[in-house]
Amino acid sequence: MSLIELRGVSKIYHLGGEEIRALDDVDLDIEGGEFISIIGPSGSGKSTLMHVLGCLDSPTKGSFKLDGTEISTASGRQLARIRNEKIGFVFQFFNLLPKLSVLQNVELPMVYAGASAKERRERAMEALHLVEMDNRAKHRPMQLSGGQQQRAAIARALVNNPKIVFADEPTGNLDSHTGETILRLFHELSRKGRTIALVTHDPEIAAVTPRRIEIRDGKIATNVDARLAGAKEGPKFDIGTNAP
């Protein structure tokens, strides 16, 4: 059984009587441990797909199973619980809470999970160690560079040990060098067994991942698995010109 199973998933918006199919009958499977990228130009539906996959939004039609649980009929409360326990988010603008320290930011998902203060602290420090940010735990996000903030955000995404991490344009707000280190970090995490989905509009970043899913007009246009296609194993880090 796949970690994620989409069967005939559609997301339909109504704008002034006009029907907009942001997702149109999408079938998709993602296995545990995969490192994939979802690419597509803006307006293609990749964000909607990520929102549905990330349990921020429910599909209008179709079935979505995450880790064997049917999501499409879940209540808001159940979705929040699933987001908390099984999904980690990394955003383009880092989205750390500016009033909290890095450590408190990383602890936040565990606060909602109901972990004890001691456990929160231990696991948060562990996660920060993983992204080599443990020496910045007491800093405020504003005192950190973009790359450091993104590392902290990744630590926060990982701290509840999620089934899958979604990264929405994680390098979009970073210079190329820093972006590259962040991508390396994702690759490293992938090697350690994490399931990671990169969402980007940039084909060069998408080229880092073994599997690429291209979305166009709400449908999956191409679904290329580099490993199956016999391409060279491993990522390419020759992405010097991805500055926004």
Partner: protein, 490 residues
């Protein structure tokens, strides 16, 4: 997220916006402050009223006063004689629900003189010995006159402290206790012996002030010659207890036996024509009703001074049987007055009801003002919470994305609002204490504002309630935010 975390997050948010939170709290602080201060003021009024009510003799005391004869009885006007001693004896014997009857004869324009000082008491009253009990007087020095003094119409008087202050000097000025018992004074040129003096009546507040003054070292006495204290003493005594009119009135009382009054002051020319003391006894006979005081030149055997009483006070056995007792007294009086209704009852109940009404009105209007200011404070909180969540849409989006549920966000915003209200409420209680102290310092009237625990608890509960109400709408609004849109915001 547990409650402790929620409160911690709320506090953090408040600390992060100190000035804004303070301004928000100001509404609640003022609301709580006005609620507590208002209730303290009305409580002070209530206490003052209770003291005054006790000072004038309690609710059981009823005064029977002269009244204009009703129109339909005008033709019998010459038969009406007003309240006389006949009524007194009739009430004593025939009205069992009336436990005490006290006749009073007042005389106006009386001047008391002693050693070059003179004083006009407000109440110069001839009465029976039981007046002390009815009017709740306490004799501090000497004694009240007794039935024998009354019987013999002796020239004795019992005075209030105002008389002492005017004729002997007040203890504060002289610096020692003054006991006027045994001294003689001239009352309208007649020699009277002071046989007793009442204690000094004052409100609890005045007493406190006076004791505080007494504890201070008495500097003026040590330096320089003693100044004359003629009028000054009186004015000083009066100014000290400005508000307590009831107490002033009581202190300004001089009691003499009823018969003495009748014989020495009611006789038309005042002094000479009054006969022996035995005459007073015979005057109680039924013949007294028809004569009038205008016949001053008659021979002494036929001369009877004006027998009318100024007031007739009765005491009711039981406050719950007030109506029955008044009806009984009315029946008796209708007999003695030959069916002419030239009297009326004046109960303290009317007076007390009037004051209670005034207090409840004051409380009502004060309460409404305080409630409105608390409401305004609540609206202030709601306003700031709405602004705050608009400012933090992104934060709420992040929190929801990493797993905050509806109730997590709802609790967070609500707790923030309630914490603001609680801090504001506590600060308001503190401020109200200062405010009431300030009020007391600025206006030391007898109606000292009294802060009650109930009012503080109520004000605090109200402020918390306002915080909850004000937080509900913003909290629901924040908790309902769509995480996707919230993340895209800003």
């Amino acid at each position: 997220m547990n409650w402790f975390n929620a409160v911690a997050v709320g506090l953090l948010e408040i600390l992060a916006n100190k000035f804004r939170s303070l301004l928000t709290m100001l509404g609640i602080i003022l609301g709580v402050c006005s609620l507590v201060a208002m209730s303290a003021l009305t409580k002070g009024m209530e206490n003052g009223m209770k003291e005054a009510l006790i000072a004038i003799g309690g609710l059981e005391k009823v005064r029977i006063e002269d009244q204009d004869i009703p129109v339909w009885q005008q033709h019998m006007a010459d038969q009406a004689v007003g309240n006389t001693m006949e009524d007194v004896y009739a009430l004593v014997h025939s009205a069992p629900l009336v436990t005490m009857v006290v006749p009073e004869m007042r005389s106006r324009n009386i001047t008391m003189t002693r050693g070059g000082k003179s004083f006009s008491p407000w109440n110069f009253i001839g009465t029976w010995p039981n007046a002390v009990e009815l009017n709740q007087h306490t004799v501090e020095f000497g004694r009240m006159f007794n039935d024998l003094d009354e019987e013999n119409a002796r020239n004795v008087c019992v005075v209030g402290t105002a008389v002492r202050d005017a004729l002997f000097g007040s203890p504060e000025q002289v610096g020692r206790v003054i006991d006027p018992v045994g001294e003689f004074v001239n009352i309208s040129s007649q020699r009277f012996k002071i046989i007793g003096m009442f204690e000094h009546y004052e409100s609890a507040q005045d007493k406190k002030v006076r004791q505080l003054e007494a504890e201070k070292p008495a500097e003026p006495k040590a330096s320089g010659p003693e100044r004359s204290r003629g009028y000054g003493s009186m004015s000083k005594g009066a100014s000290r207890s400005t508000g307590g009119f009831v107490f002033d009135l009581k202190n300004n009382t001089v009691y003499i036996p009823l018969n003495t009054m009748w014989l020495r002051f009611r006789a038309a020319s005042g002094t000479s024509s009054s006969g022996s003391s035995g005459y007073g006894g015979s005057s109680k006979s039924s013949s007294s009703s028809s004569s009038s005081s205008s016949t001053g030149t008659l021979g002494s055997t036929e001369f009877v001074p004006d027998p009318r009483l100024s007031t007739l006070s009765i005491k009711i056995a039981d406050i719950d049987k007030m109506d029955a007792a008044l009806q009984q007294a009315k029946n008796v009086l209708m007999h003695t007055h030959k069916g002419i209704e030239d009297f009326s009852f004046r109960t303290q109940e009317n007076w007390s009801e009037g004051i209670t009404q005034a207090i409840s009105n004051a409380r009502m209007s004060g309460g409404i003002i305080a409630a409105i200011s608390l409401l305004v404070g609540g609206i202030g909180i709601m306003n700031i919470m709405l602004a705050s969540i608009t400012e933090r849409v992104r934060e709420i989006g992040i929190r929801k994305a990493i797993g905050a549920t509806f109730s997590d966000v709802f609790t967070q915003i609500l707790v923030e609002s309630v914490v603001i209200a609680i801090i504001g409420g506590l600060a308001g209680l503190f401020t109200s204490n200062l405010l009431v102290k300030l009020l007391v310092a600025m206006s030391p009237s007898e109606n000292t504002p009294v802060i009650t625990v109930e009012s503080m608890v109520m004000a605090f509960a109200f402020s918390v309630g306002v915080g909850v109400l004000a937080g509900l709408f913003p909290a629901v609004k924040a908790a309902k935010l769509n995480p996707i849109e919230a993340l895209r915001y800003g």
